[in-house]
């Protein structure tokens, strides 16, 4: 599903976020990317979402080389991927259901069909009863679940998440991870950036550890997540 071949990303300041990174995520996998802040986790996800382009190397997503995606085709490309953010990135001027419906509205899905899909997505994250509320009236965990519902409402094959549990306490984090797990069980490929190593170990998923923009040779074993 995702292949990175010798990917380097250098920012204008000369600072190198990724250096010759090679990695691959198979279809149907649920993979975590770990590493300290500045290790290149976010950059990796931004390259996949085409928010940025690599300085050199190839990023291939679902058999498509992102280098060949022209600027005006980026929106259509992004619609194939579900994205979850640490700060949720919800729109606070409209109710939960409208937030979740946004990807469908963008894709031009009819109103009735959109309504059905929105309710299904909210049901999957357990927030169907909060459909009419405004995001600011929800807790951080609930807001993140709204963000997840929005990411999966158009049934993407790939879902990427940048620190989805970054602002959540352990119980809520586990709840969010369980939701991800359920999507994975129905065939969605997930790539999740997180520093919550103990949680990842409990889920028993593959872990890609980054350090200074490279793969870490020996993933660290002990957990420092709660420190």
């Amino acid at each position: 599903m995702i292949q990175l071949e010798n990917v380097t990303k250098r920012y204008p300041g000369g600072q190198e976020a990724l250096s010759g990174l090679n990695l691959s995520v198979d279809t149907g996998e649920m993979v975590f990317v770990t590493g300290h802040s500045g290790a290149g986790k976010s950059t990796l996800l931004r390259l996949i979402a085409l928010i940025e382009r690599p300085t050199s190397g190839q990023v291939i997503v679902d058999g498509k080389n992102t280098r060949r995606v022209k600027r005006r085709r980026i929106p259509a490309y992004r619609r194939q991927i579900g994205m979850v953010f640490q700060d949720h990135k919800l729109l606070y001027d409209r109710p939960v259901s409208d937030n979740v419906a946004l990807p469908l509205v963008i894709a031009g899905v009819g109103q009735r069909e959109a309504g059905r899909k929105v309710r299904a997505a909210l049901d999957q994250v357990g927030l169907l009863h909060k459909e009419k509320q405004r995001p600011e009236t929800l807790s951080a965990g609930e807001q993140q679940r709204v963000g997840i519902a929005r990411a999966i409402v158009s049934r993407p094959k790939l879902l990427i998440a940048d620190e989805p549990t970054g602002n959540l306490d352990p119980d809520l984090s586990l709840e969010v991870m369980r939701i991800f797990r359920r999507f994975n069980e129905v065939g969605v490929t997930l790539l999740i950036a997180s520093h919550d190593i103990s949680l990842i170990d409990r889920l028993g998923c593959r872990r890609i550890a980054l350090e200074d923009g490279r793969l870490q040779a020996q993933p660290e074993e002990e957990s420092d997540a709660w420190l």
Partner: protein, 321 residues
């Protein structure tokens, strides 16, 4: 249960086509943009008012010129020549000459005004009645008022004027058309000035709407970024702003129309009084349907153009970070 299943079976058939989806999306976006304006009534009204005044100004001046033209156009008699005859020409000679001139192809009619009639009229209207009675003889000549036939061109009018002036009996030919022509020339200049002024004002409206939309875009920058992040195209994020421009233009045009009509209403009394003084029945010609439609149409066009221009510049710039 059976009912539910039936509904499910029918659903795909009733599924709306792409066109109706497109239509309903536009409807909801336009209503949404309208709602945004209504939520900030004061600032929205201010912008609409500025647009309305800017549109109403040239429209009102244009209307004034149009009315002035139609009034002056009705002064057909202003085209007449007054042919003043020499003092020694007798009344019989004058009527004979009148009949002769009337036979010309380029003359429609000739009216003979005798010196005594002219003096009588003058006494009556000038208020110098008593003073004129002191005069030993009538100082006024006989006059022939020559009305040229309507087929005359301006060249043949000049020729006619010259020929009348060259008659041995003629003392002086007065052409009453000159001031009408000057007046029309002035109106033409005013019209030109309006056209230039209106073009400048149109630019002003585009700038006002563009600037308003630009502020709106800045205020909703986060929203635009998020929407783009989850796959919205430039066209998609632009649409609500285009609708905002549309609404500004539409309401600006409607209010401009209201202002012009209110101005006409205010002028109705004074004009009727003026008409009364001139014993004429001039009344103000209001705008016709096309002119009213043009004001609204121009408003909408400028609104759309202003927002289109601004969004084209800014939407590409705002990308998710």
């Amino acid at each position: 249960m059976a009912v539910t299943r039936n509904a499910d079976a029918v659903a795909p058939v009733r599924r709306s086509g792409p066109l109706s989806i497109w239509f309903s999306r536009h409807l909801s976006i336009s209503v949404g943009s309208l709602g945004r304006l209504v939520r900030h009534p004061f600032s929205s009204f201010m912008i609409v008012l500025v647009i309305a005044v800017t549109l109403a100004l040239p429209a009102a001046i244009n209307l004034i010129v149009k009315n002035a033209r139609s009034i002056s156009g009705s002064w057909d008699n202003a085209l007449d020549f007054s042919l003043f005859l020499k003092q020694e020409v007798s009344e019989d000679e004058a009527t004979g000459l009148g009949r002769l001139i009337e036979q010309r192809a380029d003359v429609q009619s000739v009216l003979f005004i005798s010196a005594s009639t002219a003096l009588g009229d003058f006494k009556e209207h000038s208020g110098f009645g008593a003073a004129l009675d002191q005069l030993p003889d009538n100082p006024l000549p006989h006059t022939l008022v020559v009305r040229p036939s309507p087929s005359n061109t301006s060249d043949s009018m000049i020729l006619l004027q010259e020929e009348l002036g060259n008659l041995p009996e003629a003392e002086h030919v007065q052409v009453d058309t000159e001031w009408v022509q000057r007046f029309h020339a002035i109106l033409d200049i005013v019209r030109q000035a309006i056209a230039i002024g209106a073009a400048l004002l149109a630019i002003a409206i585009v700038v006002i709407i563009g600037n308003t939309i630009r502020l709106d875009i800045e205020n909703r920058r986060d929203e635009i970024e998020v929407t783009k992040l989850i796959g919205a195209s430039n066209a998609f994020v632009r649409r609500p702003f285009l609708w905002t421009g549309f609404w500004y233009g539409l309401f600006g045009g409607l209010l401009a129309l209201g202002l012009v009509y209110y101005g006409l209403f205010l002028l109705q009394g004074p004009v009727a009084r003026l008409a009364g003084l001139y014993q004429s029945n001039i009344s103000i010609a209001a705008m016709n349907l096309e002119e009213a439609g043009a004001i609204i149409g121009i408003g909408v066009f400028l609104g759309l153009f202003g927002s289109w221009f601004t969004t084209a510049r800014h939407m590409r710039r705002i990308e998710p970070r």
